[in-house]
Symmetry: C2
């Protein structure tokens, strides 16, 4: 038995990796392989691009004009492509060139972030264009049922705002705190009632497609790589009242064999478990000491440090040292090119990054580049969206060669 | 521009991954792609297998009998294949079926381990069959020049014993202690004079092909995965008078962006830097205390622990706890399926594995499987050999499609 996996790298404007991979056993003939590769090439060349005339499709894919025409017409009949009106400028010689566009609206991908303080939903079409985005504040003390009910409500609102039927969503992913087992079941020390449940299956009434559940920091890492930072191996730090980490290794999300990658905070010697609490409890002034919201208290400590308040500076130094020990352990394990500082304390990157950098340089043989997140609170939802889009890509290309490449086969549930 | 990368997975008896990958821009025609894929399929089907008649080649590759014949004849003319005498049993109907074999002797791969106490060379043909293997003891105190001179000598002896000309070696890799920069330059705290040199280029007089230099623990991880343990993500622990670690992530060797992956020992809080020294210094009896060789002293401590000597048991407990802290940090970072205990202390796996297992279960959310190395002192050299064989595979498949697939093009220097 022989399996051929292909990987098409197309120079397209599509955000995210313009890469298509797939595999199938070569029991089929060479012609079947070629036909599928050609179809996927044309889709990749049009997806995420402006409408293109046949000549450009042929140029981008390396196909002959005639082959490009045959494939394009077939994909049109299958519902993937549509012809568009030619621009006035194209009417040379009295005859406009037909242009083809990828029907990005044929399906949608959904990214959800169900966090301690926020629930966020982002919906994009198949060309990765965001068509709807909604968020609602929640409380860390909410019960699991309350949190899930709000998630369902936000999801329905986001779908309805864009006029999308739940059936038109082809793939979804959900980021949340905790360790997520391969079957989607969560172990969380943070959210009440969250351990033992699978929030993906709990949303089935609102979303018939399967919902992949992944640790939030892991998804944030994926998002940072998608939307800005290029690094083969990187660590995303979720720094706020809780500390977490997500990894991209060799260009791919690395969640680990049991979903527990990046859980360095479990090693109590490193001091992650109470680093933020100790920072927020620094006695700066009456306001800080009486603050009920520890996030707010921490923000005041950072502000006081900027004003050179001695106790605040000492607290920030200690917090940075606590964070750096855990980061150093991860850096010394995977030796990444980049560490991205995200989470609610990323607003204090001006204070934290130089301290982390100096501390890492002391310990590590090869110090990675450090940078502040550019996605802020959107990182987890964007990462979930990227994963859902990747799932669609993966389905398109892993289709058995005997199955026609049609939207209904990719929708797949 | 469009690039097609292919990956052929062939069910062959070839040890190591029976996978071939390659890529080329599709400026060429579809026929050129198909031809190359077919050639590589036939090579993969014969390499590492017994000689096969055309019918079996066709079955294994999914090619028609006629296509298999055309491709096989072409590869024969290019020097990759030879016809063999048919067995007597094949002489049905008076006409023996011709069989083809992969000419594994067309090129060779070399794996070197240049360590503190040993220099080892393993040579295999292109079907990964070991044809020569030599080793010589060295001292940790040897100068760099002395160590390199011995390495060159062992290499020449291994080549000569198998009647192989240096020019017939297509790829080589060398494992050694220390952090190896992407250019092959070493930073070592262990071997005198080793920092700043590239041992690969220093062997150029004996071996004209490029020699990849990689950290020894990393190569050992690759070897354990090749020769026995199947795990997508695994950590190899080098446990002896020095502690080190190598990583396989997502099925591939992960050396990190600056060659510093697995260097968790740099985090002194974890206690790796003097764990083995403290173990070997345990006062058990007059013999242990006067031992000049600390490896020997450590071995006596392990033996005393097996005899329930209280001080030895306490020392082993403490050593296991020291090792476990560093392992836990790596496990909590990458969440591997498997941790393999290798190095000179792997003879004490009976004492160390149960202790490590219990300690990891306390700290880690998802405890990996633990196992003792089955390769012993050969792990680093085997890992180097595997890397050299992978280099040959990579060259075969990344050849520009306009260049004929001939041995001289793969030899490549």
């Amino acid at each position: 038995m022989l399996i051929i996996t292909w990987l098409l790298v197309v120079d397209a404007k599509l955000e995210g990796p313009a890469v298509v991979t797939g595999s199938f056993p070569r029991a089929a003939t060479d012609q079947t392989l070629l036909r599928r590769v050609n179809e996927l090439s044309v889709l990749a060349a049009l997806r995420g691009n402006e409408p293109r005339p046949l000549r450009e499709v042929a140029d981008a894919t390396g196909l002959s004009w005639r082959s490009a025409q045959v494939v394009t017409e077939k994909l049109g009949a299958q519902g993937w492509l549509a012809e568009t009106e030619a621009d006035a400028g194209d009417k040379r010689m009295g005859r406009p060139a037909r242009r083809y566009r990828f029907r990005a609206e044929v399906g949608y991908a959904v990214g959800l972030d169900v966090g301690p303080r926020q629930v966020r939903v982002i919906i994009a079409d198949l060309a990765a264009t965001v068509v709807s985005s909604q968020q609602v504040d929640v409380s860390p003390e909410d019960t699991a049922d309350a949190r899930l009910a709000i998630a369902e409500q936000v999801l329905r609102a986001a779908l309805s705002a864009a006029g999308i039927q739940p059936d038109d969503v082809w793939a979804a992913a959900l980021g949340t705190s905790g360790v997520v087992a391969p079957d989607g079941t969560i172990t969380s020390v943070l959210l009440p009632g969250w351990t033992g449940l699978n929030p993906g299956t709990r949303l089935a009434a609102a979303l018939p497609c399967p919902v992949a559940v992944v640790n939030d920091a892991n998804l944030a890492a994926l998002a940072e790589r998608w939307r800005g930072f290029s690094a083969e191996t990187m660590i995303y730090l979720l720094v706020g009242m809780r500390l977490g980490a997500g990894l991209v290794v060799g260009g791919s999300l690395h969640t680990g064999s049991g979903g527990a990658a990046g859980e360095i905070g479990m090693l109590r010697e490193l001091g992650w478990h109470d680093a933020a609490r100790r920072l927020a409890a620094t006695p700066i002034d009456a306001l800080t000491m009486s603050a009920e919201d520890s996030d707010l208290a921490a923000m005041r400590v950072f502000q006081a440090a900027r004003d050179a308040h001695p106790a605040a500076l000492a607290a920030v130094d200690r917090f940075a040292a606590d964070v750096a020990r855990g980061v150093a352990a991860m850096v010394l394990t995977v030796d990444p090119e980049l560490v991205v500082l995200g989470g609610s304390f990323s607003h204090a990157a001006d204070l934290l990054l130089p301290r982390l950098e100096a501390l890492l340089a002391e310990t590590c043989l090869h110090t990675p580049r450090l940078a502040a997140s550019e996605l802020g609170d959107n990182a987890v939802a964007y990462g979930a969206l990227r994963l859902a889009l990747d799932t669609v890509n993966q389905r398109m290309t892993s289709l058995d060669s005997a199955t026609p490449l049609i939207p209904a086969a990719i929708r797949g549930y």
